[in-house]
Amino acid sequence: MATERGFIGRTFGDRDDVALTLLDNMIWPILAVVLLGVLVLVPQTFRSVELIFWGAVPIGLLVLAESLCLLSGHFDLSVGSIAGFSAMFTGMILGTCPSCWSLTTNPWLGFAIILLVGSLIGLTNGVMIAKVGLNPFLQTLAFLIIFEGAKTAMQTQPVTGLPGLYTQVGGTPRLAIGVMLAAFAIAGVVLQYTSIGQGIYALGSSESSAREVGINTEQLIIVVYTVSGMLSAIAGLMLTGFTGVVPPLIGEGLVFQAFAGAVIGGISLFGGRGKITGALGGVILIQIVQSALNNSGAIGATQIQAINGLVLLLAIVLYSTQTKLRARILASGAT
């Protein structure tokens, strides 16, 4: 009897595990279905896969930045603004346009400056939220406005004359894609296999519980926002390389895409749940759908935004269903 129950239990348990694993990785079967559909309906899309991924690099890095914040139970409205400000500030230092500051042409210094600027802004976000106790929404909203305004105050014209090596990172498709994939890989490993990563999940699940088990939550929040700021700055670097200049409106409006990519990829808006690989899947899904719509002769240019919105809504519905299914499976397992 005991043996029989154990066998049945193991069988049902395994089924639950399989179901939960499928639910946790739902983005991939969805992506597979979408890819199949694109292959059938707009096959020419796959001729430009490298270009699609290249175009996805800046938003991919912002999705990663946002995902880290969401997993920790927070969020960051300022990711696009940080990307834009960091890129503009550094561009003004490196650029040779008439209104640029032109302080140096050393691209390595440029890399250091843009990363430092993004990290410092992120660090400030983290300190204000963790130490001062400001609401993440209000703090990051304030920084969104401040740094978007500061960017405009600095320059309202495209910044040109940037060093070749500085723009080459974002301007070389495979290198840029490699940077994005490396960032996702590092984040994935850290989240999965390190105490900091587990701490972020714990923090996102319950900040008070995380604190009670000895996690320094304040420090962790600051780390998360600092890394988010740094990733946003890298996104700014990639945007600069992609166009070869720093356009005056760089980074604006990207925060919505960052949220969309994370949510479509299965990152919970409420923290503590989701996989960073799923976020990558969300980025790929968004870009593939966008590119397929652009390449489709049947879809008008003015219809694309609405269809993108429907895709997002569908993803949200699917994940809402997933959450209910997950709760049901866990509940049945508990009984």
Binding site: Q44, T45, F46, R47, S48, L51, I52, W54, G55, P58, C97, P98, T152, T156, Q157, P158, T160, P173, L239, F242, T243, G244, V245, P247, P248, L249, S291, N294, N295, G297, G300, A301, T302, I304, Q305
Partner: protein, 390 residues
């Protein structure tokens, strides 16, 4: 004439604007207007134009910088105090600024509206209160304003199409069919719609042209770049690409460069490029033959022209007869914008707005300026704003 008083109206209208582009301006707006006039009164009780409030967006790059700085230079030359306030891409902010101008000691108001209909109420209130409002670059739906000054987005698109046909004929004279891409601006933006429609309408009349698709470049350089390069990689090369503003045009150039398809006109494999707007970056590309033609706006004339008529209007006590009637063609013989030394050039010395046609749009007069086609013959001329504001 003078001051305070009352009266009148005209209508104008327009489209909606919106916003920005990635950098260069030129598009926030809308397009057509026309109109009408009248009004009276004045806020200060005098018939002189001493202080003008101006509300416009300040972002978007060198285009908008030229548009605003030219207003400041002209006001300075004329001894007018110009109070410029950015609308921060917010219709609410613009409404608030217009109300403050009207309630303050400003003699008149200049607006480049952020959203066509949003400021209508505030504009009408200002006019009813005796402070005339003139619109430039992006029109308002208010029928009460004495005048709107701007070029026609539709005509600009049509002109770009004609330049495209010329370029295609020269580059590919033996081809039976020319495949052309249309890269349009933000969905729902009236200027984007008109620039696209003007292009498409002309193209539709030519049997040799196949507009293979319209892509949405969202008035942004990076979006246009990624969209066009992905489309061409997926669907094959085209013979020509039209872009609805300068940011998208530059994105298209970069896309072709990435695809190793960017070669000057006259050489094998050249893809004909035409676009709206010149700029410090665009003009040299035209000179190099990478871009065949760019249809440029006389943006640094918009506010001086408006202020010229504004001054006459205020000094006449809001007499609408000083505004040219609808249907009038205004030439440099009729209207002289006094030139001045600014930014190292004799600004406004070349009347590139000439001729202006006064049309009616949204029930108010629209001073529709001419546009300039930038080609290899004139790309380096000092009358192009892109060669002055770098």
């Amino acid at each position: 004439m003078s001051g305070a008083a009352i009266t009148t109206v005209s209508i104008a209208g327009c489209a909606g604007g919106d916003g920005g582009d990635d950098g260069d301006g030129g598009d926030s707006g809308d397009s057509d207007s026309s109109g009408g006039t009248t009004t009276t009164g004045d806020s200060g009780g005098s018939n002189s134009l001493d202080k003008v409030g101006m509300t416009a967006y300040v972002r978007g790059g060198s285009w908008i910088t030229a548009y605003i700085e030219a207003a400041e230079f002209y006001a300075q030359d004329q001894g007018i105090e110009l109070d410029v306030r950015p609308n921060q891409q917010s219709a609410q902010k613009q409404v608030s600024d217009i109300r403050e101008f009207a309630n303050g000691d400003h003699d008149a108001i200049l607006v480049g509206v952020w959203q066509t209909g949003a400021a209508e109420g505030a504009i009408n209130e200002a006019i009813e209160g005796g402070t005339p409002v003139f619109a430039t670059n992006a029109d308002t739906s208010s029928s009460e304003i004495p005048m709107y000054v701007g070029f026609s987005n539709y005509d600009g698109g049509a002109s770009s199409a004609e330049e495209m046909l010329n370029a295609l004929e020269q580059q590919y004279p033996d081809k039976d069919t020319w495949r052309v891409l249309n890269v349009r601006g933000v969905q729902g933006n009236q200027s984007a719609n008109q620039r696209s429609q003007g292009f498409l309408d002309v193209m539709a009349e030519n049997d040799r042209v196949e507009v293979v698709t319209t892509l949405n470049g969202e008035y942004a350089r990076d979006v246009a770049q990624s969209t066009v390069q992905e489309w061409i990689q997926a669907n094959g090369r085209v013979d020509g690409v039209y872009s609805g503003n300068l940011s998208m045009g530059l994105g298209v150039v970069q896309a072709l460069r990435n695809l190793d398809m960017l070669v000057p006109r006259g050489e094998d494999g050249h893809i004909c490029l035409t676009q709206m707007d010149g700029s410090p970056e665009v003009n040299p590309l035209v000179g190099d033959g990478m871009i065949d033609a760019a249809v440029d706006q006389p943006n640094y004339f918009y506010n001086p022209i408006a202020m010229h008529y504004m001054q006459e209007y205020v000094e006449s006590g809001m007499d609408d007869s000083v505004i040219p009637e609808v249907g009038t063609e205004v030439t440099a013989d009729d209207l002289s914008i006094e030139s001045g030394q600014h930014k190292g050039v004799e600004m406004w010395s070349e009347p590139i707005w000439d001729p202006g046609i006064v049309r009616e749009q949204n029930d108010h007069p629209w001073f529709r300026t001419n546009s300039v086609v930038i080609t290899q013959d004139n790309f380096d001329q000092p009358f192009l704003w892109g060669n002055v504001w770098g």
